[in-house]
C-alpha cells in the first residue's frame, strides 16, 4: 500500500458518508464553509431528491452509481474515471452505473477552480481523489461486515466482485452492507493500492460508453426532447460586433408553424431569432427574414490582421516569458544567425454536433440541457441572460458530440436562455453548420519570428522566439469569473468579469495560451529569449484542442529542424543531444525512431520527426510522407507517448489516433479567413475535414512507467504538423512555415 499518495488530501474536509433515504450508502464530497450555497442546484442523484455533491452511491439492491463530474465528449473520461473508482472498490467497471453531475462546487476542477472539462486534466486531477472515494467506501463496507459477523477488526476480510469475503469463505454483498456502512464515518487512514496490486488500472480496455454509441441510444444535447418544445434558429450578424440595422420580419412571421420572431442580443452577438413548431419550419421562415446589418467600425480582414501582427512584432518588445543566459550577447558574438517567420491561421472547432441547447423556463425556475464543457459557466450564462437567479437554474449535462474546447464557451446557452425566458416555454436552439463555422471562438491566428545564433565554433548558441497573439482568457473570463463566485448577486457579474481580467496571474492562472510550448522549449541552448507580444485583432477566440501548444509545437519543432539541417546534423540525433536533461523525452525519441525505422522510410516516402510536451505529457511522432508534384499524402504516423501510469491503454491509443487525425485536418486544410470582419468559410465543402482515404496508418506505443498519470486528450495534436512539415522538407527541400501546408 502506498500511503504517500494520500498526501495533500485532507479526508476530513473531503469525503462525507451518509445514508440514502431508501437505505444504502452515499459518499459525498464535503467542502467546509460553503456547503449551504446553491444547494438547490447541486447534483440531482435520484428523482425528486436533492443531494449535495454526491460521487458514489451504493443501493441496497447492489446498484453502484458513480456521479461523473466531468463530461464525456469522446476523450474517454467516462471509462477512465470509472476504472479508477472500480479499482479501489473491487468491482467490475462494467457494472458501475454512471450519472452525469449537475452544478456543484465540490465538482470544480481543482486546477481551474471551475467545474470544467478541459486541459487534458480529468484523469490526472482525479487520479487520487476518486480512488480515495472508492477505497474509503471499500473499507467502510468491510467495517460493516465485521459488525455483522461480530469480528474485532477487518483483518480477515477482503473485497472482490462487489462482495466482502471472510477468510472462511462466507460473503456479504455490498448492497446488504450499504445501510450499515452508512452509519460509520469515513476512515482517516485508508491506503490506496500500490501499482503491483492493480487489476484494472493499466489493463482495462473496454470502452464503457461504446454500446450506447453503436446502437444510437446515447442522448446528446441535440437529442433532448421535452413535451410542447419549440424550435429556435438565429440569424447572427455576419461581422463580429455587427448589429441589426433594419428588420422586416413580416414574411417570416406569416410562415407556417412560426411562433415568434424577434431581435436578440446574447453573449456579445446580435441576431434575429425565429421560433417555430418544428426545426424545419423555423429554418424555412429564417430564409424570409429581411435584415440589414450595421457593420461594426472595426471589421478586420485576414490581411489586415497579419499586418497588425507584423507591426506589433516590429515595434513591441512584449513580455519576456523565458530568459536563459544572455541572448543579446550571443547575437552580438554570433558568427552567423538563422532567422525565420512562421504564420498560423484561425481555426474553427467544427464539432460534428453543432452548437445547441434546450431550455425550459417557467414559474418554477429554469432548467438547461446543454452539451457543455462547463456546467458552472453554463449556469452563469443562463443567469446573465434571463430573469432567473443562479439558485433557480438547474443545469443538466448530456453526451457531447465533440468538444475540442468549443464548449468551454457558453454562447448557445446564453442565446437559448434569452429565448426561453421570453417565451416561458421549452425551446431547443439548433445552430446550422454554416452558423457554427462562422460564429466560433477560433483558435487564434499568430505570427512568430525566430532567430537562432551560431557561434564561431559552428555550434548553436542561442534561440529567440517572438510571438504575436491575442489573449484567449479575455474572451472567456466574462462567464468564468462569476462562475468562481456563484454566491455573488448577478449585478456583480460585470465587475467580477473585469476583476477577473485584471486579476489574470493573481486571482486566476496566467493566460499562457500565446506562449505555452514556446517558453518551455526543452532544448539545452545556453541563451534563450522568448517574448509574448499581446496583439488583439478583435476576432473572438477560444480554447482549441492543445491551445497554445497547437501553434508553438509547430513553430518550435519546425525551427529546431531548420537548425539541425543548418548544423548538418541528423534531426533526430540533434534533438537527442539537446535533450540530455529530459531523459523521458530522450527514451521516447529512441523508441519512436526504433518503431518507425528512422532513416529507412516506407517505399516512396520521406520521414520527419517531432517531439513536444504539452499538458505534462511528452509525445514523439515520425511521419512517413509521399510527395507527388505539389501533392502529398501522409502514409504512416508512428507515435510514442509518455503520460505516466496508463489507466486505460486503449483509450490512450485512441486519443493519440484521434489527435493525429485532428491535427492532420488542420495541417492539410484548416484555414479560417476573414473579410470585412466576417468569416468566409461555411460548411465542409470550404472548411474541409480529413476523410477515410487520407487517414494514415497509425502506430502508437505507450511508455511503461508508474509516474502519476498526465493528460492524453490534447498532447497527440502538437507534434503532427511539424513532423509532416519536416518530412516535406526532407522530400523537397522546401521549408513550409505556414499552415495549412502547401508545396510550391
Amino acid at each position: 500500500m502506498d500511503k504517500s499518495l494520500n498526501s495533500g488530501l485532507s479526508r476530513r474536509s473531503f469525503l462525507k458518508a451518509s445514508a440514502l433515504s431508501s437505505g444504502g450508502l452515499l459518499l459525498s464530497v464535503a467542502l467546509p464553509g460553503c456547503a449551504a450555497i446553491g444547494m438547490k442546484n447541486q447534483g440531482m442523484v435520484s428523482a425528486g431528491e436533492w443531494q449535495s455533491n454526491a460521487w458514489l452511491r451504493i443501493d441496497t439492491d447492489n446498484r453502484i452509481t458513480f456521479i461523473l463530474d466531468r463530461v464525456e465528449m469522446g476523450q474517454g473520461t467516462y471509462t477512465g474515471l470509472v476504472t479508477l473508482l472500480a479499482e479501489e472498490l473491487e468491482v467490475d467497471p462494467a457494472l458501475v452505473q454512471v450519472e452525469f453531475a449537475g452544478v456543484g462546487s465540490a465538482y470544480d476542477n481543482p486546477l481551474y477552480k471551475l467545474q470544467i472539462t478541459g486541459g487534458s486534466t480529468s484523469v490526472a486531477s482525479s487520479f487520487k481523489r476518486i480512488r480515495l472515494a472508492g477505497a474509503s467506501a471499500r473499507e467502510m463496507l468491510k467495517q460493516a461486515a465485521a459488525q455483522v459477523w461480530a469480528l474485532e477488526n477487518t483483518s480477515t476480510l477482503h473485497c472482490d466482485n462487489g462482495q466482502v469475503i471472510h477468510s472462511s469463505g462466507k460473503t456479504l454483498s455490498y448492497g446488504e452492507l450499504a445501510s450499515i456502512a452508512a452509519t460509520f464515518s469515513v476512515p482517516e487512514d485508508t491506503a490506496l493500492k500500490s501499482p503491483d496490486e492493480y487489476r484494472y488500472i493499466g489493463k482495462y480496455n473496454k470502452r464503457l460508453d461504446a454500446l450506447q454509441k453503436v446502437t444510437g441510444q446515447a442522448v446528446y444535447g441535440i437529442d433532448v426532447e421535452l413535451p410542447g418544445m419549440l424550435y429556435a434558429v438565429i440569424s447572427r450578424a455576419p461581422a463580429f460586433g455587427g448589429t441589426v440595422k433594419t428588420l422586416d420580419s413580416s414574411a417570416a412571421k406569416a410562415a407556417s408553424g412560426v411562433v415568434d420572431v424577434f431581435p436578440l442580443e446574447a453573449a456579445g452577438r446580435s441576431g434575429v431569432a425565429v421560433v417555430g413548431r418544428s426545426y424545419w419550419q423555423a429554418r424555412k421562415a429564417q430564409q424570409l427574414l429581411q435584415i440589414e446589418w450595421q457593420t461594426p467600425e472595426v471589421a478586420p480582414s485576414s490581411d489586415a490582421i497579419f499586418a497588425q501582427y507584423t507591426r506589433d512584432l516590429d515595434n513591441e518588445d512584449g513580455e519576456q516569458v523565458r530568459d536563459d543566459g544572455d541572448f543579446d550577447a550571443a547575437a552580438e558574438q554570433a558568427a552567423s544567425t538563422l532567422t525565420a517567420e512562421y504564420q498560423l491561421p484561425y481555426l474553427a472547432h467544427a464539432t460534428l454536433e453543432p452548437q445547441n441547447c434546450v431550455v425550459k423556463a417557467d414559474a418554477d425556475g429554469m432548467e438547461v440541457w446543454a452539451p457543455t464543457q462547463s456546467a458552472s459557466m453554463a449556469r452563469v450564462a443562463a443567469g446573465k441572460h434571463s430573469r432567473y437567479s443562479l439558485d433557480d437554474i438547474v443545469i443538466h449535462t448530456t453526451w457531447i458530440g465533440g468538444g475540442f474546447g468549443r464548449r468551454i464557451l457558453q454562447d448557445y446557452v446564453a442565446e437559448c436562455a434569452v429565448i426561453a425566458d421570453r417565451l416561458q416555454k421549452p425551446v431547443k436552439l439548433i445552430w446550422s453548420r454554416e452558423e457554427d463555422t462562422a460564429h466560433d471562438w477560433y483558435r487564434p491566428a499568430s505570427l512568430h519570428r525566430l532567430q537562432a545564433t551560431i557561434n564561431a565554433d559552428g555550434k548553436a548558441s542561442g534561440w529567440q522566439h517572438r510571438i504575436a497573439h491575442p489573449k484567449v482568457f479575455e474572451w472567456f473570463v466574462g462567464d468564468a469569473a462569476p462562475a468562481q463566485y456563484p454566491f455573488m448577486p448577478k449585478f456583480m457579474f460585470p465587475m467580477l468579469a473585469s476583476a477577473g481580467k485584471l486579476g489574470e496571474g493573481i486571482l486566476a492562472p496566467k493566460d499562457s495560451s500565446g506562449y505555452e510550448g514556446a517558453n518551455d522549449v526543452p532544448y539545452a541552448l545556453d541563451n534563450i529569449d522568448v517574448r509574448f507580444i499581446h496583439s488583439e485583432p478583435g476576432v473572438p477566440v477560444g480554447y482549441w484542442r492543445s491551445v497554445g501548444f497547437s501553434h508553438n509545437g509547430f513553430v518550435t519543432e519546425s525551427f529546431i529542424d531548420e537548425l539541425a539541417h543548418q548544423q548538418k546534423q541528423d534531426p533526430l540525433n540533434f534533438r537527442l543531444e539537446l535533450l540530455a536533461q529530459h531523459p523521458r523525452a530522450q527514451s521516447l525519441l529512441r523508441r519512436v525512431a526504433q518503431l518507425a525505422d528512422w532513416g529507412r522510410p516506407l517505399p516512396g516516402c520521406h520521414q520527419g520527426v517531432a517531439i513536444h510536451k504539452s499538458f505534462n505529457t511528452w509525445v514523439a511522432q515520425i511521419a512517413d510522407v509521399q510527395v507527388e508534384g505539389k501533392n502529398f499524402s501522409v502514409k504512416r504516423v508512428v507515435c510514442a507517448v509518455d503520460c505516466g501510469q496508463a489507466v486505460n491503454p486503449d483509450m490512450i491509443r485512441a486519443q493519440m489516433e484521434g489527435g493525429i487525425n485532428f491535427a492532420l485536418t488542420a495541417a492539410l486544410y484548416g484555414n479560417i479567413t476573414l473579410k470585412d470582419g466576417a468569416v468566409q468559410q461555411s460548411n465542409f465543402h470550404d472548411y474541409n475535414m480529413l476523410r477515410m482515404p487520407e487517414a494514415p496508418q497509425i502506430v502508437v506505443d505507450i511508455a511503461d512507467n508508474q509516474y502519476d498519470p498526465t493528460g492524453v486528450g490534447e498532447p497527440g495534436v502538437p507534434p503532427l504538423a511539424p513532423a509532416v512539415a519536416n518530412a516535406l522538407f526532407a522530400a523537397t527541400g522546401q521549408r513550409l512555415r505556414r499552415l495549412p501546408l502547401q508545396l510550391a
Partner: protein, 187 residues
Amino acid sequence: MIRLTVNDVEHTLDVEGDTPLLWVVRDVLGLKGSKFGCGAGLCGACTMHLNGQPIRTCIMPLSAVAGQNITTIEGLSPANASVQQLTPVQQAWLELNVPQCGYCQSGQIMAATALLASNPNPSDADIDNAMSGNICRCGTYPRIRSAIHKAAGMMSAGSHPQAARNGELFSEVTLPQATNSEELSHG
C-alpha cells in the same frame, strides 16, 4: 398525408413534404440515433438506408421517399439489444472500441453495413470509396477500417447469427452508391 415505412413499422404522416427525412425521423417519429451534422449531404451523420441503399437524409425531402422502406440505426438490432443480438458491424465496432464522441457513428455504421451487404470482402480501396462521405471529427478512421474488415470476417465465417439476417435485409441490393465524388474535393 405521406406514408412511410421505418424499421418495418408503417407510418402515415401529416408533415410538410419538403421537410428533410432526417427531421421527420428524429422529431416526428422520435428516433434520435441519426444525427444532424451539416444539412448539406457532406458529412454522413444522417445516413439511413432507403430500400437498403445508404442515403443522406438531411437533404432528402420526405415527399421524395413517400411509400418507401427506411432503415435507421435503431432498426439494425432490437431495442436494448444484448451484445449477441447486435449485427456483426455493431459487434466489431464494440470490440475495437471504435466510438469516441460517437456522434458520427450511427452514420458510419449505416454506411459500413450497406457496403458489406453488397461487398462481403471489401479491400482497403473499397472501404475508402464507400466510407469517404462520412466524416469523423474525432478521427476514428483507422478503427473504422479495422472494424469493417473484422465484421466481414465474422460474416463470412457464417458463425454469426446476424449474418443471415443481414443477407436477407440486403438481398435486393445491387451496388452501393459509394458517395458523391463531387462532395469530396479537397483542394
